[in-house]
């Protein structure tokens, strides 16, 4: 691990000979030196925690952390955007939005007043596989915070008036988001990679789908998925385990267990090469997404895939960063991530660049996907990526919420709980051969999903020149995330295919 520190400096001393320095520092006699050796390493232990299951099936994790006199309550429900009923995009998100907009015992304003007056914080939201509700409260407000959490999660009113109010907010927010290249690129990319799999649709819904949501849709979603045996609660902070369990039992102990519907198995589509350009003529940059179907979190190849994609575009090595930013100044930032979900996952590289450089950037990025598959990675790169991950571990358990995140991850993905203690060993077990194997298995540079959001007039010719002959262009004003070709079906375009369910 320490070799990592010294190697670049050896290179630096060679470079210094060839390096015409225009700016010499203020200390003309500043001595030559090498990076100092580290001090003695400290032991890194995962902090103690307690995980229990209540008789009603609710999983509870408690982490005692006494530094600051606060407690945070983090609840995850095992249902999210992917559980939106067919065609009703945005239900899970609207359910989460309305949790704190009134319960059977408090109006929306009373919920807000309760948490604000106590100097607390309440937030709710959704992910692809989950919904969440978090409360932060000072230690003397534990009972109040826990009871409020139970109230909003168990007894939301879904009042029609509040639905109408939030619907108006969401539709207006989408109107703004549809002018935001970052948002547009992300949602088009998801649809492109996952097709009509539940992971392919936008979490907030579309303006059309949100307009049609009814109170019954929300009540039904809540009835199906909000149950103690479908949720995990982490209680973290300045309290004892007994205090935490007493508060949880008091607020959730009488919540009745119920059958949770099993999702129909839907396979994500096989990767195919498709380049979609969303034309936004006033854009000065092109927002770029590129990637393909990956693996779910529980896949045995998780660690090897994670390291491979990190070397492509993550902390510690980041080939894309070196090629695009360090060597050419083509972007402010570029990254690649392996997003691993419950049922599937994706590899996604993202960046943005000035319109004139779009073709060059696209070519360079695809070349890096090809290089990863063709050449794998070398020992030094893998050592760097491993050094980053293992060294970074103590930084990921610094605050009470950091610790809770680690525990919630393991519980949510049903991973072996001992994984929290064995992180370093699991990282270090991955070999260059493992990376080569997963690169060949999963990375298919001739079948990438590519999305470009920008001023197409400025770069369509460039795409041809760098080898992308088949490109689909959609005007931003015509964009529809629910059709095969991303165009509104009411357009007079013979190629448009009917909307899918």
């Amino acid at each position: 691990m320490h070799t990592r520190v010294f190697r670049p400096v050896l290179a630096a001393s060679l470079v210094a000979w060839l390096w015409p320095s225009l700016l010499s520092g203020q200390a003309a006699k500043w001595p030559s030196s090498s990076p100092p050796r580290p001090l003695a390493a400290r032991e890194v232990k995962f902090p103690p925690y307690e995980a229990k299951t209540l008789p009603n099936g609710m999983t509870v994790a408690v982490v005692v952390h006494n530094e600051q006199p606060a407690v945070s309550l983090r609840m995850i429900l095992r249902a999210g955007v992917a559980q939106d009923p067919a065609g009703k995009f945005g239900v899970a998100s609207m359910v989460a939005t309305l949790l704190d907009q009134g319960t059977t015992t408090r109006t929306a304003q009373q919920v807000a007043d309760t948490i604000d007056s106590a100097g607390g914080d309440l937030e709710t939201g959704v992910g692809r596989d989950l919904s969440y509700a978090n409360v932060t409260i000072m230690k003397d407000g534990l009972g109040l915070g826990m009871n409020l959490l139970a109230d909003v999660v168990r007894r939301p009113a879904f009042a029609q008036e509040e639905l109408d109010r939030q619907r108006q907010q969401v539709v207006a927010a989408l109107r703004v988001s549809y002018q935001d290249p970052v948002y547009v690129a992300s949602v088009v990319f998801d649809r492109l990679v996952y097709g009509f799999h539940p992971y392919g649709f936008p979490g907030n819904g579309t303006p059309a789908s949100v307009e049609k949501l009814t109170r019954d849709d929300l009540v039904e979603f809540h009835r199906r998925y909000y149950a103690p045996n479908n949720c995990i609660l982490a209680v973290v902070g300045d309290l004892t385990i007994d205090e935490a369990m007493a508060a949880v039992t008091g607020a959730f102990g009488d919540w009745a267990r119920q059958e949770i519907p099993v999702d129909p198995a839907v396979e994500p589509p096989k990767p195919t090469q498709r380049v979609v350009v969303v034309d936004k003529p006033d854009a000065v940059q092109t927002e770029i997404r590129m990637g393909q179907i990956g693996i779910p979190r529980k896949d045995d190849d998780y660690m090897a895939v994670d390291l491979a994609i990190r070397i492509l575009g993550g902390e510690g090595a980041n080939r894309l960063h070196r090629v695009l930013r360090t060597e050419r100044g083509l972007t402010y930032g570029v990254s690649a991530d392996a997003e691993t979900l419950k049922r599937s996952g994706e590899f996604e590289a993202q960046t943005n660049t000035r319109s004139e450089a779009t073709g060059e950037v696209l070519r360079l990025m695809v070349d890096e996907f090809s290089r990863l598959r063709r050449d794998g990675v070398n020992d030094g790169e893998l050592a760097d990526a491993k050094a980053y991950l293992t060294g970074n571990f103590p930084l990921t358990i610094e605050t009470p919420n950091d610790i809770a995140t680690q525990i919630l991850n393991v519980l949510f993905y049903d991973l072996p709980i001992k994984e929290l203690q064995t992180f370093r060993q699991r990282v270090n077990a991955v070999s260059v051969d493992d990376i080569a194997r997963v690169a060949v298995r999963y990375v298919q540079p001739d079948r990438l999903s590519i999305v470009l959001v920008g001023n197409s007039a400025a770069f369509l010719d460039q795409l041809k020149r760098v080898g992308f002959k088949r490109v689909e262009v959609v005007r931003l004003s015509d964009l529809d995330l629910t059709t095969v070709d991303f165009k509104r079906k009411d357009l007079a375009d013979g190629r448009t295919i009917a909307r899918q369910p």
């Binding site: 400096v9 700016l23 400290r42 606060a70 304003q109 007056s117 007894r155 703004v176 050094a387 610094e398």
Partner: protein, 450 residues
Amino acid sequence: MRAFRATLRGVLAVSCLLALFVPASAAVRPPKMNAEVATLPNGLTIVLLEDHSTPIVHAQIWYHVGSKDERPGRTGFAHLFEHLMFQGSKNVQPDAHSSMISGVGGRVNAYTTDDVTVFWETVPAQYLPLILWLEADRMASLRIDTHTFERERQVVKEERRMRVDNQPYGSLPEVIYDQAFTVHPYKHTTIGSMADLDAASVEDVRDFYRTFYVPGNATIALVGDFDPKQAMALMTRYLGAVPGSERTISRDHPKEPEQKQERRVSLTRNWPLPVVVVAYHVTFDGHPDSYPLRIASKVLSDGQSSRIYRALVYDRGLALTAFGGGNILEHPNLFFAVAIVQPGRSPEEAEKALIAELDRLRNQPVTEHDLQRVKNQFARDYIIGRESNQQKAMQLAHAIVIHQGDLSTADGEFDIFMNTTAADVQRVARTYFTPQNRTVLTILPGQAQQ
């Protein structure tokens, strides 16, 4: 059926609680930070705070230079310079600073504000010598070649396109500050203009470096798992070796003249929905009035029970989003409120509603309920804002750099907030939230033109 009964029981339990619940005074206090401060012979200020709960250390070094110190025609330069600090020094090759840190599992970054430029690293505790060595090397011996400088200029221009030019509402702060200020350099934002970024030269880099990137203009806050004696020895060994500077730094910024009458401006931008901004000039960070102003910020805009959210978003559906608060900086800055107007509602309605909330602070004392709510939220922010080493270091360095070396303000301001009265809030509202001190901006969708 079982679920239904359970719900009924829940209802009863909760209504009992509601009846009993009255907002309490902030009984919970944030623990004090027992930091130590020292100054090296070369002028560098050091703040140390031990925290042995996790085997990591965080260092952040604040250079007291920001975009308000840029000379005319060089807007964006302080931030461009921040980028150059990663581009190599005598013993560190370009970009190696970041790769050495990530190579040991650490995190590293930097940011530039109107007032300061901050560089930080978090690493496993045993790498403390490495980060001090790296910071000393670039403080003493930065080296930039033309190629690197040119490339980094392009990177920063991409950053501007990404954050400002290609985002709906991305240039809103630029518009607000350009309209509300006349001569003080707060008139321009940190990212600067494309033309000025193009105009920057290597000569500018040299001059800026020699003036501002000197030990006497820097403060380093170190928080985490270290032995203080060993840490001081390492500080002295690495950062103490950087020569001090004889140059004096001019803090002679043009003073913004008092605004004598209301300014009203209407513009168009290619944004999806109209925006209304109401801005007032206010005082600087640390001025006695700054504390009630921050209380006023929270009365207006912290949580869904706060006044602007409730009036403009919840009750009347005037705004997609609306918020307001003081941007309290080293020099007098602005207190402003913003509303993005809902489709079908008029900017005039939104403007009236925003001004009505600011006027209400002038005309009526804040209720005891609102004041207590805000104090409890302050207590929360103090506590939640000190969970990580990085947050603690930021509070400590801020106290030293912005509050003229007064470390006690990092903890001591808590009591000032807790002792602020409704009369204090009303007094500052009457002082600052006047029509003649106000700039009202309306920005309508359309092709950008001044």
